[in-house]
């Protein structure tokens, strides 16, 4: 596989221990520009923990996380706060949906624009022309993103009133609003029906085509196989395989650890 470009995300020997549990054990992973990469593994393998460590919600006990947004310098993310990491160009969705429930759909996405805008107390109270322009820009861009994910018809609804599939798409929209070079999706298809899953697949492809690299955790094997350029498989915090979808699904270790013991695979 040609990997000339610098990896956007490069994770080396990442480890995370909760007391006695080694949730991540010297994990290596990288994502390049324009790629859709999948991270799979049985329940409790440590996938969500990986996301949490990479995005700054947990402080990893060892290893390195390096982010290199296209055209910018490499920065080491270990120990940085989540909001700083988001600003550097990595955004995520949550496995157990975490929307701002009592805010409207549009406002949820507008929050994503926060780290790309600046108005502060003075601007809020006096609304000089530049703040007005900024606000208008936030609204316009947020609306455009909602159109893209197919939620333009519910902009003024409270996000808690959306259907499950809509909520998952809203999470993606909110993350996109932060202009991420790398988008992390934690089980985006969970709870979706086949029709919604199909639409999601097209959406993720479109997001990739618009220049965001995607790393996704997913249990829906059909989706993983058709969508991803490369697949990482982990079990008990360790990486047990990596490669193209075909390579991985033929790997005996994977079949034993994952595909073998799971019926829905």
């Amino acid at each position: 596989m040609p990997q000339s470009a610098q990896a956007i995300l490069e994770v080396k020997d990442l480890s995370m221990a909760f007391g006695g549990i080694q949730a991540l054990d010297n994990l290596d992973l990288d994502v390049h520009g324009g790629e859709i990469v999948a991270l799979i593994g049985p329940n409790g393998a440590g996938k969500t923990t990986f996301f949490n460590c990479v995005t700054g919600l947990y402080k990893p006990t060892g290893g390195d996380v390096l982010l290199t947004p296209p055209g910018r310098k490499t920065s080491r993310l270990n120990g940085l706060k989540p909001n700083v990491i988001a600003k550097k160009g990595m955004a995520r969705t949550f496995q157990n949906i975490r929307l701002f429930q009592n805010m409207t759909v549009l406002e949820n996405v507008m929050i994503g624009r926060h780290c790309r805008t600046r108005a502060f107390v003075f601007g809020a109270i006096f609304r000089p022309p530049q703040t007005r322009r900024e606000e208008q820009d936030i609204v316009d861009r947020s609306y455009a993103i909602l159109e893209k994910v197919g939620l333009a018809h519910v902009v003024n609804d409270f996000s808690k009133n959306l259907s499950y599939g809509q909520q998952r798409r809203l999470e993606i929209a909110r993350a996109l609003a932060t202009e991420p070079s790398l988008l992390l999706l934690d089980e985006p298809a969970a709870g979706m029906n086949p029709q919604e899953t199909h639409e999601l697949e097209q959406l993720i492809q479109r997001i990739r085509d618009e220049g965001h690299a995607v790393l996704l955790i997913e249990h829906d094997m059909k989706l993983v196989m058709s969508l991803s350029d490369r697949v990482y498989v982990m079990d008990y915090g360790k990486r047990i395989a990596a490669g193209s979808p075909e390579e991985v699904s033929a790997d005996p270790a994977v079949i034993k650890a994952y595909l073998g013991e799971s019926d829905d695979a």
């Binding site: 009592n102 107390v121 601007g123 900024e134 606000e135």
Partner: protein
């Protein structure tokens, strides 16, 4: 309509009430004649009253459950009130009418009434200030009165020691309160919910106790007296004039506060506060600096309390720590909760209800606070979201939204 189980339950409730209110309502010790009076009639009334009330509330709740409305949407009264108020047809006449009443008030009513109204206006501003912290940012602050105290004492002390005037100290008091807001904010950055509530409560009490015991600085429990009333271009005002003057001062202050809080609410920072309230982990993951957002909320909330504190000191011309107990924080919090967290109109109505009601319930003499408590409890049972539920701004996209 009423089944047997419900009647049985209501009977239980009324027996409980009879039992609980027995010492208060039935037994009266006449300490002069050293006799005990048994007022059995009262017991009957309590029993009957609570039985009927309990039945009515049961019926109401069942009725509400069966009503096929979406409980998540702000429904019924709240929306009606709001749409009536925001209807452009009503808006200007309504505002004009309100302005007229507000301006005419001190000239039509007695100085006593004006004074009460000024107090109510002060609580409107306090409520709106606390609303930033509790309603918008979702940080349960039980020590809000500390900032009110900081404002009042800055004027009291600066006025008596350095002879600084009201208008000079107003911004100083606001600034000092904001600084104290940040000071409180730092240690509680990591705390949430109950823990935050306890620490802020302690903070309020500590500040008050310091004032009570640091005699050299604050003159302790005896307080500071003879504070100057606010100056009016160097003209000496009579007491009545000065009451009217303060009333208008407060009126302007309320208008300014509403304007500012409204703008804050509908801004980048306001949205960040809401996001923090809704889910602080998602909020951080979406790039919001939690520290900065929390501290801004504490500081901006405290600013209003500081200003009202200065006005309070100027109004009463005497302050001592007894005016800044936890009860005060509790009342301001009650205004926010009763009115509706995060809703400006709700907080304003809440302040008027909570400050004016006890005044006009004086007719009930001893039972005043009891009646007040009963109204509060009923209110929270039937409308837990407050008088006006928080409604978010709707954006229109021309020709785009169906």
């Amino acid at each position: 309509m009423m089944n047997r189980a419900e009647i049985k339950r209501s009977l239980g409730v009324s027996l409980w009430f009879v039992f609980l209110t027995f010492p208060l309502m039935v037994v009266r010790v006449d300490s002069i004649n050293e006799t005990i009076e048994w007022r059995w009639m009262n017991m009957l009334w309590v029993g009957l009253g609570s039985f009927v009330l309990s039945l009515v509330s049961r019926w109401y709740f069942r009725h509400r459950e069966t009503r096929a409305s979406n409980p998540l949407e702000p429904s019924g009264v709240s929306l009606q009130i709001r749409s009536w108020f925001t209807d452009p047809k009503h808006r200007w006449p309504l505002l004009a009418l309100l302005a007229l009443i507000a301006v005419a008030f001190p000239f039509t009513f007695s100085a006593y009434q004006t004074n009460i109204m000024t107090t109510a206006l002060m609580y409107v501003v306090l409520g709106l200030g606390l609303n930033i912290v509790v309603g918008l940012a979702g940080l349960l602050d039980l020590g809000y009165v500390a900032f009110y105290l900081v404002g009042a004492y800055s004027y009291g002390l600066l006025n008596t020691h350095f002879d600084l005037g009201f208008w000079t100290v107003l911004p100083i008091g606001a600034l000092l309160a904001a600084i104290f807001g940040v000071l409180l904010g730092f240690p509680v950055l990591r705390l949430r919910g109950d823990y935050l509530a306890i620490v802020t409560l302690a903070f309020g009490e500590i500040i008050r106790l310091v004032m009570e015991n640091w005699n050299d600085f604050s003159r302790g429990p005896s307080g500071i007296s003879n504070i100057d009333r606010p100056g009016f271009f160097g003209i000496d005002l009579t007491l009545n004039q000065s009451i009217t003057y303060l009333y208008f001062l407060m009126l302007v202050m309320v208008v300014v506060t509403i304007f500012v809080v409204n703008r804050l609410q509908d801004s980048r920072i306001g949205r960040a506060w809401l996001a923090l309230r809704e889910d602080d982990i998602a909020c951080q993951a979406m790039g919001i600096d939690k520290t900065k957002t929390k501290l801004t909320a504490f500081a901006l909330g405290a600013t209003w309390a500081g200003m009202v504190g200065v006005i309070f000191a100027a109004k009463t011309t005497f302050i001592n720590p007894a005016s800044f107990t936890f009860l005060e924080s509790a009342i301001i919090l009650a205004i926010v909760v009763l009115g509706g967290m995060g809703s400006i109109l709700g907080v304003i109505i809440g302040a008027f209800v909570l400050i004016l009601l006890p005044e006009y319930l004086r007719a009930l003499s001893d039972y005043r606070m009891l009646a007040f408590g009963a109204i509060m409890v009923t209110m929270m049972v039937f409308r837990p979201q407050g008088i006006i539920a928080n409604v978010r701004r709707r954006y229109e996209f021309k020709g785009k939204v169906s």
